[in-house]
Point group: C2
Chain length 340, copies 2
DNA sequence: GCTGGCACTCTGTCCGTGCGAGTGCCAGTG
DNA sequence: CACTGGCACTCGCACGGACAGAGTGCCAGC
């Protein structure tokens, strides 16, 4: 049906115009700005149908139409073409991420870059501990019966944890402990680490047994702690720019971003196939995000997804461009992490 | 002069009322709400003088008066009494900071606590590298000619840095290097570390010399890098609450907070005597902060100032309470850090 | 030196009006 | 049957005048 086809064109045009102008779009303006080949009256009929189907709505009786969440959803799924990044943008990405010194540096550069490219709030999840492997474990004595356990993962993430020892220990004990730990855990996935503990306890020399038990308990605790997944947030200043899209106040959104846990859940649920995920408005199933969309994708080196990254903005955003930016940045980050 | 004295009382009353109501305060309301013992007409005369001296101003001809930056300054310096924290607040501080697992945890709890106590944006500086001492240096091989250098300071801060080696090296080299580095640097102040490098190069065995040179160069670079001072920011959602105090947009302020460098400069300039510093409006000498005040203080264990922390809010804030909160939190943080 | 009174100024608000944008419907046409 | 032009209708919004309220400055009196 050329009929239905045109209605979709109308919806696409509405989304595009509304995103760029922020004004409800009327039939006349639509006919002028797009080559739909029909008169405003015909477009009006199409719009009436689209409204009945729930894709668009009018804020007031005598205003133009505005896409609903459902309308944006259809647009994202079926109507938007991938928008390739400009050469300048690609170059900016390379320049931005090049020369990063450590993991924190990489992630904070990433978040700034993404915020700058999209003009929205950017979020990057730290590489998930559960998907990383142990590169090295370091034990440092800070008091007679207190150790600092430092875990370095193969993704460059560093976790530290204070451990109270059941007994005092000396330098030799610590050195022995360090060797034992690395021998046991180096190279193992963090998810597998817990399983090695019984083995470790068996092989440990008797005089170290209680110490090893305490330290490995702390280690396992650190690994399974799900709340330890961290988030880097940037570009909140961009929210002020689009404050008009959040009637009332920016507060709930800012709170959600600080709370981290909500956003983290959204960002970390990435598509296994590596596709960019878009969650629109109410789809986020969280009050504070009801007027917001989240565009996210997993990043990683090779086939491993280490974590997620993405942006948070008003539902009225330029989806094709932002999806492209998110995807491109994720690729580069994965690359950089693979190198380090 | 009982005369001047009363004028100051009037100023104090104006500040107090304006802070709590956000309405320009008039002579009549002042006479009603405060026991100044004089009539509105007299107060009007005092207000005229205060205005002439630049302590207050009226937004419009027929509105009440509002304190100027200069007025707040006088209030903070001479008119405000320290407001002790409530028992509940003290208990909240202890509860909040107890059970922190590592440095990052301590600092992020601190920033949340401070934001919650003051209802403003809270900022905490990471313990300055230059004032810390080396606790331990760890070297981990990540590729044939690539090492990860991990610095652990006595304040629990962990810095990492990738180092490209001039030559390939094996496990023995790395172990030797690690021992050498710790032997040389452990316990030294970071500011003194650079001075030890020549000594280190002399004592290093010949086959390691080039390696040691590369690694110590990277180390020194990490230490002197002034931009590496980090800032934890929290409670930006509170800005939305006081958006009315920032006519125009929150954007410049949010940008400044993200930029970090501006705020960092303000926070890190702490008073040697441990007093709480207040910078009001234009005193911040930065456009984006012209309507904002910064309340800050240094924190540290014992006599060492490790860094600064504080809050950023509108000039129209409750200075006595906020100063007390900032000071109390800084004390507790210093205590916690001394223990770990 | 303080007070009460008074005239004046200015802002914020409310209300009524007119304009413009946009719609829905309908009759007409290829 | 789908599309088009015309037309009446509905609202939101910007404009402007009137008004009440708050606050001031000044002045004469105590």
């Amino acid at each position: 049906m050329a009929h239905d086809e045109r209605r979709l064109q109308v919806l696409r045009a509405i989304v595009q115009d509304y995103v760029s102008t922020n004004d409800p779009v009327g039939s006349k303006a639509l006919a002028e700005r797009h080559d739909l080949g029909v008169s405003p009256a015909t477009i009006r009929n199409d719009m009436a149908v689209l409204e009945e189907q729930g894709y668009i709505t009018q804020p007031h009786t005598s205003a133009g139409r505005v896409p609903t969440d459902k309308g944006y959803r259809l647009f994202v799924d079926r109507l938007s073409a991938v928008k390739p990044l400009s050469v300048a943008e690609r170059r900016a990405i390379e320049r931005f991420l090049d020369g990063a010194l450590d993991l924190h540096d990489i992630l904070s550069r990433t978040v700034r870059l993404l915020a700058q490219l999209t003009h929205h709030v950017a979020v990057v999840q730290y590489p998930t501990l559960s998907r990383s492997a142990v590169r090295h474990l370091e034990v440092v004595q800070v008091a007679a019966a207190r150790l600092l356990l430092v875990l370095i993962t193969d993704t460059g993430r560093v976790e530290q944890r204070l451990v109270d020892c059941p007994v005092d220990c000396d330098g030799d004990d610590v050195a022995e402990l360090r060797a034992l730990l690395n021998q046991t855990f180096a190279g193992t996935r963090l998810t597998d680490a817990a399983g090695r503990v019984p083995d470790l306890l068996d092989t440990a020399p008797p005089h170290l047994r209680r110490l090893v038990a305490a330290v490995s308990a702390a280690l396992v605790e650190t690994l399974v702690e799900p709340g330890e997944d961290r988030l880097v947030v940037g570009g909140t200043a961009n929210l002020a720019r689009v404050a008009v899209d959040f009637p009332g106040s920016l507060r709930p959104l800012l709170e959600a971003l600080e709370e981290q846990v909500v956003v983290l859940r959204l960002i970390s649920e990435v598509d296994a196939g590596g596709a960019v995920l878009v969650r629109i408005g109410e789809e986020n199933a969280h009050e504070a995000l009801s007027g917001a969309s989240v565009v996210s994708v997993g990043y990683g080196s090779g086939d491993r997804a280490l974590g997620g990254l993405g942006i948070v903005g008003p539902t009225r955003m330029d989806y094709p461009t932002n999806m492209a930016a998110v995807r491109a940045v994720a690729r580069y980050v994965g690359q950089i992490l693979a190198e380090s």
